[in-house]
């Protein structure tokens, strides 16, 4: 039991760095530039190679009154919370932001953010939606364009060697997470979905080398754990920019165990090693990400790529059921949910849709999850 507590404390310590943004503020005090990113597909390695700190922007506010006077109330919670935190001054420590054209919300939100908050540095990366050679070549050049602007802002020359080092650090990060992920796939998973999400979130709020140093002792504790045996249902969590630990905790308190996901903030964020050490390899990795973005091969539809991504996660994790987290303001969920339901319904995988609307989890949500787990567990 003592070990259990120790493990939980270590994970919470990591998670607290996400909640407090303490590490980011420390880096800032030590003279580093902090660059907020607005999408999991922003190639952080580039920012990192300049000695700056890429930090995924995730708002922590539990209400969004200020944001509601600047952006529509019906857009996704993800953007409303960032706007709220920003308007409250909670992102004042950022030196700049980098957005991406991965959907309308993200493009327009980038505009709204720069309009209202006027960050010292901002760049919007144009991502192609088709994975042909022409687009890959364009994307590489687009990253060069981004590099030139960032270099000007940071007043530092770009270095291919430093980029290679950053890629290596990020690949190490991905390998560590793969190792951790494998522990969720065991018949008696050694890691809960709640702890997994906490660890992942902490990785967005510190330098990856620091994360890589912090994780091994936690990993050792997790490996030592005998694993969860008394759960009723192995669950795959599907969604987009979701990061509410409370909902995962609620699901797991009712007998579910979250063993995989395709969230932009978790498996969709870190999956995919960069196969090489130059900019072209980096461009390829980011253009090939298929967890949620609308990029697809020439003959494919991105929804098919996403379904494949989910299918792979289900196979690896042996999940029995899917809980689909649908933010009512999320355009990706809005278009893709019916296909996910249909596809996995055909395979006989039970799926529950949870409409997200803060504050949550609500009693009604809890009752639905409970009934779902009881029915299929």
């Amino acid at each position: 039991m003592g070990k259990e507590v120790e493990k939980a404390e270590k994970i919470d310590e990591l998670y607290n760095s996400f909640l407090s943004r303490e590490k980011l503020k420390q880096y800032k005090e030590n003279g580093k530039k902090i660059i907020g990113t607005l999408c999991n597909n922003v190639p952080e390695e580039i920012i990192h190679s300049f000695g700056a700190v890429p930090a995924r922007m995730l708002g922590l506010a539990d209400s969004t009154e200020l944001a509601s006077s600047k952006i529509p109330t019906w857009v996704c919670l993800y953007t409303k919370r960032i706007m709220e935190d920003a308007l409250r001054g909670d992102f004042d420590f950022l030196d700049g932001i980098v957005g991406m054209t991965s959907d309308d919300t993200k493009s327009q939100f980038y505009s709204a953010y720069t309009f209202y908050l006027k960050p010292e540095f901002s760049y919007l990366i144009q991502i192609p939606y088709v994975r042909d050679d022409l687009s890959l070549n364009f994307f590489r050049k687009e990253l060069e364009r981004f590099i030139a602007k960032l270099s000007e802002f940071i007043e530092e020359e770009f270095s291919e060697d430093r980029l290679a080092k950053s890629i290596a650090i990020y690949n190490e990060f991905r390998e560590l997470l793969d190792e951790l992920l494998a522990l969720r796939h065991l018949d008696s998973p050694k890691l809960s979905g709640e702890d997994w999400l906490k660890i992942l979130l902490s990785s967005t709020a510190m330098l990856k080398e620091d994360f890589n140093n912090s994780l091994p002792p936690v990993l050792a504790e997790i490996k030592d754990f005998e694993g969860y045996k008394d759960y009723k249902l192995r669950i795959h969590l599907s969604g987009t920019d979701f990061y509410d630990v409370e909902i995962v905790r609620m699901i797991e308190s009712l007998g579910g165990l979250v063993v995989s996901d395709d969230l932009c903030t978790a498996e969709g964020y870190y999956k995919g090693i960069v196969e090489g050490f130059n900019l072209k390899d980096l461009a390829k990795r980011y253009l090939n990400q298929s967890a949620c973005v609308l990029t697809a091969g020439l003959e494919n539809l991105s929804i098919e790529d996403r379904l494949n991504f989910i299918g792979e996660r289900l196979r690896e994790s042996k999940a029995d059921a899917i809980i689909l987290l649908r933010d009512r303001g999320c355009e990706i969920c809005g278009h893709q949910c019916p296909f996910i339901l249909q596809e996995f319904g055909k395979m006989g995988i039970p799926t529950l849709i949870l409409d997200l609307d803060s504050p949550y989890p609500t009693e009604q949500m809890r009752t639905r999850v409970e009934a779902f787990i009881e029915s299929y567990g």
């Binding site: 019906w74 327009q108 192609p128 364009r145 929804i303 303001g329 809005g334 278009h335 949910c337 339901l341």
Partner: protein, 415 residues
């Protein structure tokens, strides 16, 4: 209230022109269908010239949805889409179209012809791309994506709001967009079975150039004092700008339409006898409640500037057709908000008193820019805005009577 007495409404008379335009457009469509030509679905801001270069039958989900909204079936279709599990807060055009596909018996006839292929350009929104994926999957048909950038001021400098001529264009973006457009032409050859014809290409772009000039002139003349026309007629210019530019019938419309408005301006005749306020408007028209504009105008509040119409215009240069197609995407609704400069510069010429802005629920393009736009108008031109939440195909959110009351109060506050 005496001030708001309704005045006699005196529109330009474009109604007949539109009727002729649609008649010719539909006749062409019927003829090509009879010949077994392929059907393509296209969205606003696509290079409409390709329709005429490759002799395909076009159908436009946005236009169909607007039509369904005007005829009253969009509400059922939107509900059908939600019942099928699609999101509530998606674009009304998507919801209406998917409703038509899923429950055609509830949809206004004629339905859109079933597509053989779809083209999306991201010249306006990623939603076009998102819905293209859904439609392509439903029908099992090929699609092509032209990936224009979401423009930033560092790529363009300033952009003229009407012509879409920028100070400069980042070469990388221009080259990639053109390469993608060339890919589109290859795709069109393949799906239409019609080989590319250089002569036809030139002809269509020449027509497009002549038409685009006239449309811009019409938009400029609308800013005259008093406002010569009604938004009930001007708002529909988007059909020309978005969908049929390059056709002879669009040119014919533009020529006549230009003459009519020119004459009006010469005579200093307005849409109402006594113009009391001059308003800017933006947002997609609530197609179910277009009479809102007429009502405002009858109160004496006219609309010399419609930013939605302005966005649909660009000056086509037949000598540089590829660049022209790309410039079509350089409107402020496909740009970061610092590019609102161009809008302000143009609007300044119109001597405005206020703005009526429509937040189209589900459309992130028109809705997210609304507050920044209102702020810019206030700061730069000193004019207040009324923001109405108005999804373009769903009257339940903005019943006409409620909208009228809000507009009345706004107009009164400005007088």
């Amino acid at each position: 209230m005496e001030d708001l007495k309704l005045q006699e409404w005196n529109p330009l008379g474009y109604k007949t022109l539109y009727r002729n335009l649609f008649k010719k457009h539909l006749a062409r469509q019927d003829e090509l269908l009879k010949q077994g030509k392929k059907v393509g679905w296209f969205f606003s801001f696509h290079p409409s010239e390709i329709i005429y270069i490759f002799d395909v039958v076009p159908a436009f989900p946005e236009q169909y949805s607007a039509y369904a909204a005007a005829r009253g079936s969009s509400v059922d279709l939107i509900d059908a889409s939600i019942t099928k599990g699609f999101g509530h807060f998606l674009c009304d055009y998507f919801k209406t179209t998917i409703g038509m596909i899923e429950e055609p018996e509830k949809a206004t006839k004629p339905l859109m012809p079933k597509p053989d292929f779809i083209v999306d350009t991201r010249a306006l929104c990623v939603a076009h791309h998102e819905m293209t994926e859904v439609f392509a999957r439903k029908y099992g048909i090929p699609k092509y994506t032209v990936n224009y950038p979401y423009w930033t001021s560092d790529a363009l400098g300033k952009v003229d709001e009407l012509t879409k001529i920028p100070e400069r264009v980042d070469e990388l973006y221009m080259e990639y967009s053109i390469a993608k457009l060339k890919g589109l032409f290859e795709f069109m050859e393949k799906v239409s079975g019609t080989p590319f014809d250089e002569e036809k290409f030139k002809d269509v772009f020449e027509t497009s150039e002549k038409t685009s000039k006239l449309l811009i002139d019409i938009a400029k003349l609308m800013m005259s004092k008093p406002t010569p026309g009604s938004q009930r007629e001007i708002a529909d210019l988007v059909f020309l700008g978005f969908f049929v530019l390059g056709s002879d019938y669009a040119y014919e419309f533009a020529e006549k339409g230009y003459e009519m408005i020119k004459e009006r301006v010469k005579r200093k005749e307005g849409v109402v006898p006594e113009e009391k306020l001059r308003l800017l408007t933006f947002g997609i028209m609530p197609w179910h409640s277009l009479s809102l504009y007429e009502y405002c105008e009858m109160m004496g509040a006219t609309f010399p500037v419609n930013l939605y119409v302005n966005a649909s215009l660009h000056l086509c240069d037949a000598k540089n057709p590829w660049e022209s197609m790309v410039r079509r995407s350089m409107h402020f609704t496909n740009s970061t908000y610092d590019l609102l400069d161009g809008v302000v510069e143009n609007a300044r010429k119109a001597d405005l008193d206020g703005a009526l802005l429509l937040e189209n629920t589900g459309c992130r393009i028109t809705s997210m820019i609304i507050h920044p736009l209102a702020d810019v108008l206030q700061e730069e031109l000193g004019i207040p805005s009324l923001i109405l939440e108005a999804p373009q195909c769903d009257p339940r959110v903005m019943p006409l009577e409620r909208a009228k009351t809000q507009v009345e109060a706004f107009v009164e506050s400005l007088l």
